[in-house]
Symmetry: C2
Subunit: 311 residues, 2 copies
């Protein structure tokens, strides 16, 4: 069992329009809704890979109900446990407008609901119970909604470590900085977040610095350059074997699923890294944003070359 | 009691963003949701004017639930009766993106849910019961969702006329053409719809033609030029007394509310027209799209000049 925590759950809506024209009225050809927020994306990929996963975080209002309905109805329902904590506020929606001319999506992200102090305590209680029941790993993913203390990730990391559960952090800004100080087992930033955290643009130098700041290991997404891992027992890089064109939405979340599924299966670091890079690439190549293409994954995985990091 | 029929109900969502940039990601500063669809807009204005009103049409899914929740919670709840018919499909949402630079809204309209044959029959039954209970007028407003027969408005008009209830039609395209043949008491097109229906660009000529095609009276919205009425007992024009700048969303629906509230109060045509023009102008001037500004309405109403139409 892997636990993913998504404090700022979303209902991700994609609107397909022939052409986006500012100040015009558009007839939406197709509207697709699906559960969103980074930890839910990670959970969906884990479940598709065959791993039991429990999702927690906050859900409320009509969009929260729709998220829960879709989680229950999904074909991987048997492997995905909904442990979301109900809140009085309304789960946010995001709207991505996809233009039929093949240009990038135009994204609108609603602010998250305000979480009450009692609701945060309810989540902590549920989280402790899940840790006590036993888990292979926890993934803490994404932004903090208003009302959740800025030290939330630090507290969740301390709880996981006290329970002896491996904990991954994928966050940014102050939530990342505060979480890092609580010493997560793995930090999963992208290149921009890593540079913002450490002040170093060169990824290996920045990853070394992030380890000094508290991360036991660092797995950095480097976009088209693949991923870099620096851990206590070595460092590795891997890049996708083909040049990727497509939608990078969710590629980082698929990488998190690759890393944690490999961990749960007892794979060594190079195999976990190869899986993360292949899943991430198969997500960029998938027709729908945030999904991965299983055939592309099966094709790419044996072709990902993992090399030692230079330092 | 006035009945408004909104077959294609919507939950209208307004996103406020600092600046709309295609292909960029936007943090929504404020998201406002309210019941939408032309007949619900008409009903809200009627209730605000003090008239008892019943709304029917179709509602389903999370957006339909939110529409019903807001209708029940509104301060005019005592005057507004929710007689929406539940459907298995999901009520659509519309998203209007308002740019802080004061430019016009960028609008995205989801397709409506497909209505089943049994659901359409359930609406007809509810509608007949409402007519039998007695009503001053019925307003049939807006587009038809998939699954509703193209002759829906014709059928609803025949039922109203059989019950002796005054019936107004505000539609476009084939639904308008088919409805017109059933002889509504009042047709409320805008200039573009009227020209599209008749082939005449000149409003008075077009309105005369629409009366020949079946409308007992025509009240045409002419944008900044106000309104034109042609009825059996005369013709009148009225324009707003000030130059209007603002958001015209919902101005036509406020005009419908003005016309029907005046009818219910037994006002003669010129007074109904003045009310429609003043309400419409007060809607353009209101800070929120689709609301009207009561102070502006009170100020404008006595200043609207009604003149006989030229023919």
């Amino acid at each position: 069992m892997i636990i993913t925590v998504t404090l700022n759950v979303a209902l991700d809506v994609t609107y397909h329009v022939p052409a986006l024209v500012p100040q015009a009225s558009h007839r939406v050809v197709e509207a697709v809704e699906r559960p969103g927020g980074k930890g839910l994306n990670v959970a969906r990929v884990l479940a598709a890979l065959g791993h039991p996963v429990a999702v927690t975080g906050f859900a409320g209002g009509p969009a929260g109900e729709e998220v829960r309905r879709q989680l229950a109805a999904a074909t991987y329902a048997g492997r995905l446990t909904d442990a979301l904590v109900p809140i009085a506020g309304k789960t946010r929606r995001t709207v991505g407008v996809v233009d039929g001319r093949g240009r990038g999506a135009t994204q609108f992200n609603e602010p998250g609901p305000t979480v009450g102090a009692g609701e945060w305590q309810a989540l902590l209680t549920a989280y402790r119970d899940m840790l006590a029941a036993g888990a292979d790993a926890v993934a803490l993913c994404g932004s903090l909604p208003p009302g959740v203390p800025i030290g939330a990730y630090a507290e969740l990391i301390r709880e996981a470590r006290a329970a002896g559960v491996y904990v991954l952090l994928d966050a940014e800004g102050p939530a990342l900085r505060r979480g890092l100080a609580a010493r997560p087992d793995l930090l999963k930033p992208n290149a921009g977040e890593l540079a913002g955290l450490t002040g170093f643009a060169e990824p290996e130098r920045a990853a070394r610095d992030a380890r000094r700041r508290g991360a036991r290991a660092v797995a950095a997404s480097l976009g088209a350059d693949g991923m870099l891992v620096l851990a206590g027992d070595g460092g590795w890089r891997a890049a996708p074997p083909v040049r990727l064109t497509g939608n990078p939405t969710g590629a980082g979340d698929s990488a998190v699923a690759g890393l944690l599924s490999g961990l749960a299966e007892g794979l060594p670091w190079p195999a976990r890294l190869a899986r993360a890079v292949a899943l991430s690439a198969a997500t960029v190549l998938a027709p729908a944003a945030g999904e991965y293409d299983p055939a592309a994954y099966a094709d790419l995985l044996p072709r990902v070359e993992v090399v030692p990091a230079t330092s």
